[in-house]
Symmetry: C2
Subunit: 413 residues, 2 copies
């Protein structure tokens, strides 16, 4: 009866930060403020961050010198006081490189400090092959993209891989749809990329689950408005999922949270590559959808989904039935997830936005039937299609940019 | 292409806190430190919180004067320096009152500042009745418990109700197993309690979902060790659920997260009171379990479960089959939740701990079969029975204590 509860934890006073680390922190604060404002002035930054005008000017000078900020010719007099020169994040200098390796394509994206998507290459490829081979191929695409970025005076601050599997500490623990187990993706990719760039220093490489970074892309670049908590699905060969709570990914104890594609929707359904039975992706993944619609075996990628969408628009019964059945199964699995997580909205990405006219109502109806609060109503607009400007490669690249914004000095040239 | 990402948010410098609010904060810091240590000295507190010995002594004097702390006669010389008088949280003064109103019982618990469970009354009652009547009955039990607390020099700092339903801002939005919809539980309970205590000031009353506070009780008083992220189920007439991430409840957009009892385990299963079909609680809730085991209709509460447990221990085939089938269904629903959330452990509370010898292996086997990472292995000890010293009433009472610890001055007599 006498055990004491751990009802909070003490908040020990922090040791006094030394002057250099205070400046380092404030450089980040100013850079992030400009980045988020898009265009702003020294006076606005000072008002926003609560530092003196003089302190902000000194920090801005350093960020200009080091190429993180630029001044545009414009002046801006929206604030009280003298008009100020407009500051914005540089469109040259450090850039984030996102490399999505999915089952049937590789997509590489370069994002600059302003958050703008600057170079993009997507290649259809069958990645159900040995990891070293697939990662080597992706590194070749990335190397060519790095060359194009250099022509724009962008230099890579780091590479983030986005992979369709369980990723933790640089290792793909399991990626059923690639057939990978325990693959040291970071190390293999970094080695391949370094070999392709003789005389250059090795770039930092890190990996993430593709659905996680796709959700971050939606959060940062999408059309969610004030929504900060949502469940994000990406329909590909597999069905990826990610949970965002108050603007942060919920990663789970091992980094494996969000695996909605392996929620079972039929206890006795067909065997899944993951070892379980009746997983959602066997009903609502791209392969399952195309097969159910009677589209020829082996048609995958954007072509297959485009053909399916055309047939649905033409009212072809088998195509319509396949999409509606996938929608019911998605809605069924999502109802469990919504009962568990109570997200503000659910976002469907990957192949799903293209199919929304038929898919969305089927998903919505099943959710309305099964969400316990009665708050899932068709009028509530809680089911959304992902924005067309968001995807895993862009999210991965933006994670690198976030790291730069958090500590610019670590990325000064 | 040019939308800027919201990749962080500025951290404006806080306005300088005035002296009174700094002292108020530090009083809380010292009180929490003593509370968590159980027994400690001024010197240890000073070392822990990073304030001077003199400052801590002044804060401790005020907390002693106001009855939040007491000195024991003992001295303690575990630290360097002079031996110090032992300080601990008072076992008199402000107390938290937890009132769990479940389908077939009411349980009231008083917790003191040290976190100790001091008074406890549990009454079997059928609460499937009008809300005003049920809340009035619960208020009568609470009033009598308050009298017993007063005999121990404990005075209620507040009351927290724990209810089996969707609770938000003082209102039970929906409690299918009580048959309640849109019940202003806080207001009704507070009015009933005030009427029973003429001449006393009205106590603050707030409501929570019972599974949420049961999970907090497990976090604060259970045997989870370092585990800070878990999924907690409470088996009652319904099946409640709560998600704890890094020591905090995940509440969801409307406060309705955790409703694992209404995850569907069979798309075409029987209609549930919530309006959906085939919800988990129709297979693994107390009523479903007793019915499947052939226990006579209407046997509910601890008696029914005790009888079921006895029959299982005696090897009665129908009882064994009922518990194992409930375990499979629990494991099936939990596999979806674990794939989604990747918790460190899953805790089964309510009626389940009594049934664990047969129930646990069935749940575990289903999880091992279906959790995608392959990290759910029978040897991993990720499935736990809730501690016998934790329940929703104690958790609810401890939430009130947490409020007192956070700002003791607000609760000074």
């Amino acid at each position: 009866m006498t055990k004491t509860p751990r009802t909070g934890g003490a908040h020990p006073v922090e040791p006094k930060a030394d002057k250099a680390s205070v400046r380092r922190h404030n450089l980040s604060l100013v850079l992030r403020t400009v980045h988020e404002a898009g265009e702003t002035t020294r006076a606005s930054v000072a008002a926003h961050v609560g530092l003196t005008r003089a302190a902000v000017s000194s920090l801005v000078e350093q960020l200009l010198d080091q190429g993180f900020l630029v001044e545009s010719g414009k002046t801006f007099s929206g604030q009280a006081g003298r008009p100020g020169t407009v500051l914005k994040a540089a469109d040259t200098g450090p850039a984030g490189i996102g490399v999505e390796i999915n089952v049937d394509y590789v997509s590489v994206c370069v994002v600059d400090l302003a958050g703008t998507d600057r170079v993009r290459v997507t290649e259809p490829l069958d990645n159900r092959a040995a990891a070293a081979e697939v990662l080597g191929r992706a590194a070749r695409i990335a190397a060519s993209v790095l060359g194009r970025a250099a022509e724009r005076d962008l230099r890579a601050a780091g590479v983030r891989l986005a992979l369709p599997g369980l990723v933790s500490a640089g290792t793909v623990h399991q990626a059923p749809n690639l057939g990978w187990n325990r693959v040291e993706a970071d190390r293999l990719f970094a080695a391949a990329l370094t070999a392709l760039r003789p005389g250059r220093s090795e770039l930092p490489v890190a990996s993430d689950n593709e659905a996680n970074v796709a959700a971050l892309a939606e959060l940062w670049f999408g059309a969610l408005g004030d929504v900060r908590s949502f469940l994000h699905l990406t329909g590909e060969i597999g069905v990826g999922g990610a949970i965002v709570v108050n603007g942060e990914l919920l990663r789970g104890a091992h980094g494996f949270a969000g695996e909605i594609g392996h929620m079972a929707v039929d206890a006795n359904g067909p065997l899944c590559r993951c070892g379980s039975r009746g997983c959602l992706e066997q009903y609502a993944g791209q392969s399952a959808l195309l097969r159910a619609a009677g589209l020829e075996e082996g048609v995958t990628g954007p072509g297959g989904v485009e053909e399916l969408a055309r047939r649905v628009e033409a009212g072809e019964p088998r195509a319509v039935a396949a999409v509606e059945e996938a929608g019911r199964m998605l809605g069924y699995a999502l109802s469990g997830a919504v009962n568990l997580l109570d997200p503000e909205v659910v976002v469907l990405g990957g192949i799903y936005p293209r199919l929304m006219p038929r898919l969305g109502p089927a998903v919505d109806a099943e959710l309305a039937r099964r969400v316990v609060s009665g708050l899932w109503t068709l009028s509530a607009n809680r089911l959304r299609a992902a924005s067309t400007s968001t995807d895993a490669a862009r999210g991965a690249a933006a994670v690198v940019i976030r790291q730069v914004l958090t500590d610019p000095l670590a990325y000064a040239s």
